[in-house]
Symmetry: C2
Subunit: 415 residues, 2 copies
């Protein structure tokens, strides 16, 4: 059982947008045992789409398309599907009623003929209800291969996948189990890990695949296997994971697939009923907004002081001016004062503070670009650590945000 | 002149990572007149990669590959290229020296045999210097088609593209001009715009392509054209854009490709020498971190108070407790107090404040999920507006951040 994804739109091929739909669809399919063989992004061009449909048809039993379903002239997927299937468009009453309902309920502009055109679907298609938009999903079959067309707007596509496509795929296709386990490690490079676990890796059963996924100071090790007996698969993977711990247990910080470090910090704080505040300089509120992006943040998160200007650190956060002039604004001392003060100011159990230079120019300190201090205040006291994070602004910020969560996580666990 | 991109890695096809490399490469190629015909993502599988190479070879003169160049066992691109070209790997002295240099300068772990393996390149390949990592870029030619292989780590790939690949492509290929112009609009849906400009669209010259790109309350209209005479192309596009303004000039807020609204606000503030602070509740520091992500933010940005908890709004931001209990914490009054107070506290010319309910559960107010108030404080006074932003947490936050910038932009322009 194998699937393919075709994403349609010039905007992808000129790099105007990043195709995030494919990753979402792949993950959702993978979870139910459908392996994605290939993702193909093609232009808004009928001949090209037809070619992609033909190729996918010859290889896979399920082909998912996104994009090109809007009401405007550049959206041609529906017409191309009709050509591919030798079909023609007819008006679907249910879709038309839904379009009229959406316009009545949510939109101030009157419904137009162009909006009504979205109720046209291929006559042999099964319509999939798009709760969040006017373009319906379309499900068509050709010689044992199913074609599903969805709008390219991520929000609408996600709704269609969850509510319509996944349940139908589950019902219609026989699928094996696909099992992944990802170990998240930090503090050691890809090759160094590979050497430490070389013997283990050489003796891995052929049915288990290992991948190294490095990113920003972390390496994720992913074990994958496929088969029919879910329990046997789980046991096989667990047995291998168990053997890994004596080798690299010291650098493994988590096991859950998809668990970001902020999610694991959020869970710890919520479970242990601790509260948190942050005082951020060059990270600009990124630590704070990473946490509040997750539901339930109000349970533990009180607030943040982004003291971007030195004056703000002094006046609002109460960092002594003498400390700044004596130690420099990018220093362990200032980081500690920021963490201690924001913790007091917002009455929290823990606090994170950051100060550093993310470049591209030097600011109010002579610290080289990439120099970063992260302070953690706990109920027991405050400490700061210095890091050198390279010379790329975006990476300096993101690596520091990750590092701050890592430091905090250790403190909470050991508290 | 046409290119293709092949991204290699199981992590893409199981949805573990989003392929951002393709958009970066597409944009960079597009800028120098190279059109990307197709993007193909394939698994870490030799037969599959070989098939993708063959197909791309038959269609395009330039094929760019990313991924599968790491030192570990799952990285197979180099071996597959050798098989495709009937070549074999040899050690490259320059690459080996660079690997040794990187380990000496930046890494604490000793260099290993596995690291040294990265100096192996196909004997007929031209090596492209990877300043940021140990895996070199590879440039190979086959019957008039150039194959370029780059590591999948975005940071390293970007360096290779900018410093090596783009200059070489410029030198080696004859390219037409590709011209895009994007008009950014807000406040009107895709179909409504399409109807307003239907006559204009019907009379567009065949050489100019129009695309509608909707996202979060905005629609971007992109005009594209290709040819040899850059001046004539520019004139043709400009003439069409000029005709658009009488039709929808009231909803166009910018013309520059790629200019995010925060970048345009940042430019306005810097140019006019105004300063800004923010007081954020449910946006959690996202307005702040969007601005500080851009270089030069210290010129105008003073700081932020993320008052996530109601107590923080009262104690730290000085919002009167009576106001909160009288009007609710999600209200125009509280938003205005937050904006006015943070502006005073941090001594800035302008300030943004947000308060609202992003869900999934209701917080300290009875306001329905999606209810949002955004306040703007200017040197002349403060006002707030109410919005309903749907019921999807991530979208509520992002739409509100966009809306806040939009409101601020108008105020600065009209001040």
């Amino acid at each position: 059982m194998q699937a393919e994804i075709i994403t349609i739109g010039d905007e992808i091929l000129i790099g105007q947008i990043v195709d995030t739909n494919s990753a979402f669809i792949s993950k959702a399919l993978n979870k139910i045992g459908v392996s994605v063989y290939q993702i193909t992004s093609v232009q808004d061009d009928k001949a090209h789409i037809l070619e992609a449909l033909k190729n996918a048809n010859s290889r896979s039993q399920l082909v998912l398309l996104t994009g090109g379903l809007g009401p405007t002239k550049d959206d041609i997927t529906k017409h191309t599907l009709c050509e591919y299937f030798g079909d023609s468009l007819i008006e679907n009453k249910g879709v038309l009623e839904h379009i009229e309902f959406l316009f009545k309920k949510y939109l101030t502009t009157p419904i137009s003929d162009m909006n009504r055109l979205q109720a046209l679907v291929p006559s042999r298609a099964e319509v999939l209800h798009n709760a969040y938009g006017t373009a319906p999903g379309i499900w068509m079959e050709n010689e044992g291969t199913v074609f599903v067309s969805m709008p390219g707007v991520p929000f609408e596509m996600k709704g269609l996948m969850e509510n319509e496509v996944i349940p139908k795929v589950r019902g219609q296709f026989k699928r094996p189990h696909i099992l992944h386990k990802t170990l998240m490690t930090y503090g050691m490079g890809e090759s160094a890990i590979a050497e430490k676990i070389a013997d283990w890796e050489n003796e891995l059963p052929k049915t288990i695949k290992l991948a190294y996924l490095p990113s920003l100071g972390r390496v994720r090790l992913r074990l994958s296997t496929t088969g029919t007996d879910k329990e046997a698969l789980t046991a096989a993977i667990d047995a291998e994971v168990k053997k890994l711990y004596p080798l690299i247990g010291d650098i493994i910080y988590g096991e859950e697939e998809d668990q970001s470090i902020e999610a694991s910090v959020a869970k710890l704080l919520t479970d242990k009923k601790y509260t948190l505040s942050t005082a951020e300089s060059f990270t600009g509120g990124k630590i704070s907004s990473s946490l509040t992006a997750l539901p339930g943040a109000s349970k533990y998160f009180k607030g943040t002081l982004v003291s971007y200007a030195t004056a703000t650190k002094i006046e609002t956060l109460g960092v002594p001016e003498a400390l700044v002039s004596q130690c420099s604004v990018v220093s362990a001392e200032v980081a500690c004062a920021m963490a201690t003060n924001v913790k007091e100011l917002l009455h929290t159990d823990f606090a994170i503070a950051t100060t550093g230079n993310a470049g591209p120019e030097k600011g109010d300190s002579q610290a080289p670009i990439g120099t970063v201090f992260i302070a953690i205040a706990t109920p027991k006291g405050t400490f700061a650590q210095q890091f050198t994070m390279g010379n790329h602004r975006e990476r300096i910020v993101q690596k520091s945000v990750n590092k701050a969560f890592e430091l905090l996580q250790k403190e909470i666990i050991n508290f």
